[in-house]
């Protein structure tokens, strides 16, 4: 299956801009280094970035085919190509919206010059890394992009400045470096056996030989470490809970998705001849374990941000159901599962970012985020609690949110492929998520006893923009629920024969 017809339209020139713009913004913010101006320019840059990506989205729909952009003009094997297809454009869309909201939120969140002078350059470098990963069509280039994402995330977590956050950052950094090395070893083996780094060319030549198995295993271990699938998830909760709120939002919403995206590319497309049905089912099994364990740990969490972080572990589990659902039945059922997961990624990104923003606002307003002390918080934080509730509804999968459509699509694809046990997992996971979401909401809505209200009243007023950003994202999860068709239609522009390589496995 070759690359579909390459049509070069003028809008394709926006592709390098999507990566270059955040890089320039990073340089700019580093040079300005004045908190107020950095924040203003960042919001401006984020708006331009959104416009550019929206232009890319609409032009991609018009052109109706996969885009390739040859950087340096050399073309695939010698140079590096940027590739844009339905899957990557959906992720790009999620990134853009979350980046716009998080940027606006951060402009109000970070105040001290020590934090802003680092945050803005690091933030834009992270955005550049994310965009680079979603657009990359080259295995080694993906390594560098993942490394940008990993290191800037670590640096952003360490911005929180307390010992526990920095320790979490150090653990995250070690795991990230180890994961990257495993990935690089896998890429080295692929290059050794097939002589190219371009993903599309690799997918045409790769065979199911031992060296491909070895390469796929190494790449998977590396990326699973970075994606925090269950047995390898230990680093995620402290890092995501300890980071400053806007950073937590970006980490949970986007950063873990980048490595999942690469993993999906390798299993379903690049190395698909080496992917056996058993291995795909194993990934799904770990995903199911992650759903249950994540929900269980979230129910026991003592702090609000830790609860949200464990909920990320659980929600990541759903993504891994993609693998068994594509395994059993050929391309058509497979592409339905992929569409469901792509949609779930967007829905989860919006909901989780909104949730972390709400949790951050509550923490900033109250000065703590211990769940036991949140009783009656709705009386002085109505908007944040409302944001939390809508985002929670999306995580549980209640209509009319995006999460509902995503779960619905996943259930459909499980029914179509006749794998009833995944249906049970999806439904139980939704119920368990309801437990920890309602645990928080019930406390928040319970009236405070008279004597307590005087002791723990609201202490810090928080900027309106922060609450508005979280609320906008929560609204976006609902809007997403009503515009599912629009987003899912991008999956038709599929891709370097993404699933065409996946034969129905025995």
């Amino acid at each position: 299956m070759g690359a579909p017809g390459i049509v070069m339209t003028s809008a394709q020139h926006f592709l390098p801009l999507v990566i270059g713009l955040p890089l320039l913004a990073a340089v700019f913010c580093l040079l300005v280094s004045n908190s107020r101006w950095s924040a203003r320019f960042s919001i401006l840059f984020a708006s331009i970035h959104t416009l550019v990506v929206m232009q890319v989205l609409s032009s991609l729909r018009d052109s109706g085919s996969v885009w390739r952009y040859e950087l340096g003009g050399w073309g695939a094997p010698l140079g590096i190509d940027l590739v844009l297809d339905g899957f990557s454009v959906i992720l790009l869309f999620a990134t853009t919206i979350v980046v716009l909201c998080v940027t606006t939120y951060s402009a109000a969140y970070f105040k001290t010059p020590q934090q802003t002078s680092r945050f803005w350059p690091l933030w834009w470098l992270l955005v550049a890394g994310l965009n680079a990963a979603f657009l990359s069509g080259d295995a080694f280039n993906l390594y560098v992009a993942l490394e940008i994402i990993g290191l800037s995330s670590v640096a952003l977590v360490a911005l929180a400045g307390n010992v526990s956050a920095i320790t979490a950052a150090l653990r995250y950094a070690l795991v990230g470096l180890l994961g990257s090395l495993c990935y690089l070893m896998g890429v080295a083996l692929l290059y050794r056996a097939y002589g190219t780094l371009d993903l599309a060319l690799l997918s045409q030549t790769v065979q199911g030989t031992p060296i491909t198995w070895a390469a796929l295993a190494l790449i998977s271990v590396g990326l699973l470490l970075k994606t925090a699938l269950l047995p390898l998830h230990f680093w995620l909760p402290p890092a995501h809970a300890g980071a400053p709120a806007p950073v937590s939002a970006a980490l949970s919403a986007l950063v873990v998705k980048a490595s999942f995206y690469v993993l999906a590319r390798f299993w379903l497309d690049v190395c698909s001849p080496a992917a056996s049905a058993d291995a795909l089912n194993l990934l799904g099994f770990f995903g199911a374990c992650a759903i249950f364990w994540g929900c269980f740990a979230a129910c026991r969490a003592k702090r609000l941000k830790l609860l949200v972080a464990y909920s990320t572990v659980a929600q990541l589990g759903y993504l891994f159901l993609l693998f068994p659902l594509t395994a059993a039945y050929g391309p058509s059922a497979g592409s339905a599962a992929l569409a469901a997961v792509a949609y779930l990624i967007v829905a989860h990104a919006f909901a989780k970012a909104a949730m972390f923003m709400a949790a951050g606002s509550i923490q900033l307003a109250c000065g703590y985020d211990d769940i036991d002390r949140l009783r009656g918080v709705v009386s002085h934080q109505p908007i944040s609690v409302f944001t939390f509730a809508i985002a929670g509804a999306s995580l549980i999968g209640l209509p009319p949110t995006g999460g509902f459509i995503a779960k619905w699509l996943l259930l459909n694809s499980a029914i179509d492929s006749g794998q009833w046990w995944w249906i049970a997992v999806i439904l139980c996971g939704g119920l368990f998520s309801a437990i920890y979401i309602f645990r928080v909401l019930i406390l928040a809505f319970t009236a405070r006893q008279g004597e307590q209200s005087s002791s723990g009243g609201p202490t810090h007023p928080i900027p309106q923009t922060m609450m508005a950003c979280g609320f906008m994202l929560a609204i976006a999860t609902v809007a997403l629920g009503f515009n599912a068709e629009w987003l899912l239609s991008y999956m038709d522009i599929n891709l370097i024969g993404f699933l065409a390589g996946t034969e129905p496995l025995p």
């Binding site: 990073a26 940008i148 640096a155 795991v175």
Partner: protein, 254 residues
């Protein structure tokens, strides 16, 4: 495994996992390694088609050294992102509090030791010349921006170790040095678009000159960032040792 991180110097060298588990894991890792070796042996190395293409295209790349051609022309996008990686670490490690000094500040500690004076007078200028040579030679022989930057950084670190000079990394000029490599790379990548229609696609006639511009900027940035990394680590370690007398005791005894 990662839950317990030891920071103390005298800490036990290994984790408190039982010997059995460790032995089993060692055997497992050994087995996996052997399987990896077997899988590598089992596969033929791919024919060097890409190498041939790269060597054939060198005349179009503006440089003669194939590695430089790959790094700064064929796969220049990787190098662009890699300079961004260095910038991330530099930004993360920038000092927090600002001293109100200019970029370079000298104190009154004039070095008197003959070895130090020799170092400043001979070794450092030589390193700078060597770095420039490495940068220039990268066009047709092994060398280039990273090697030159590393040597230049070595000279800078040696100079800072004399303790007479200090750099203020928060000055605008310092930040400009850090960002220079990335900024120039991105600007060159964008300015060639009107000429050739592709980002990073240098016009053949100017390729050599553009690569040299990028390499000079990258060398300066890399050297500055590496100096910052070493200097900041040393500063923090020193700060940590000073107030704690117990920490310095060990050093005095040895």
């Amino acid at each position: 495994m990662f839950n317990k991180l030891e920071f103390e110097e005298n800490a036990k060298k290994t984790t408190r996992t039982s010997r059995l588990i460790k032995g089993l894991s060692a055997v497992t890792i050994g087995l996996l390694g052997s399987m990896l070796v077997l899988s590598v042996i089992s596969a033929e190395k791919a024919a060097p088609e890409l190498a041939q293409t790269a060597l054939d295209s060198i005349s179009l790349s503006g440089v003669e050294n194939p590695v430089t051609a790959v790094l700064l022309n064929f796969r220049s996008y990787d190098t662009l992102l890699e300079i961004a990686v260095l910038l991330i670490v530099a930004v993360a490690m920038m000092p927090e509090s600002s001293r109100n000094t200019s970029l370079t500040a000298a104190n009154s500690r004039v070095p008197t030791h003959p070895v130090l004076i020799g170092l400043i007078r001979c070794v450092i200028p030589l390193s700078v010349i060597l770095s420039a040579y490495l940068l220039w030679t990268g066009a047709y022989a092994p060398g280039g921006a990273f090697q030159a930057g590393a040597v230049l950084a070595g000279a800078g670190v040696a100079l800072l170790l004399v303790k007479r000079w200090q750099l203020n990394y928060l000055r605008l000029s310092a930040r400009a040095f850090m960002a220079l490599g990335l900024a120039v790379f991105v600007i060159v990548a964008a300015t060639v678009i009107p000429a050739t229609g592709r980002a990073l696609n240098y016009p053949a006639d100017y390729a050599g000159a553009l690569i040299l511009i990028i390499e000079v900027a990258a060398t300066l940035s890399i050297a500055f960032v590496l100096i910052l990394l070493v200097d900041q680590l040393l500063n923090m370690a020193n700060k940590q040792v000073k107030p704690q007398d117990t920490q310095t005791e060990g050093l005095d005894k040895s």
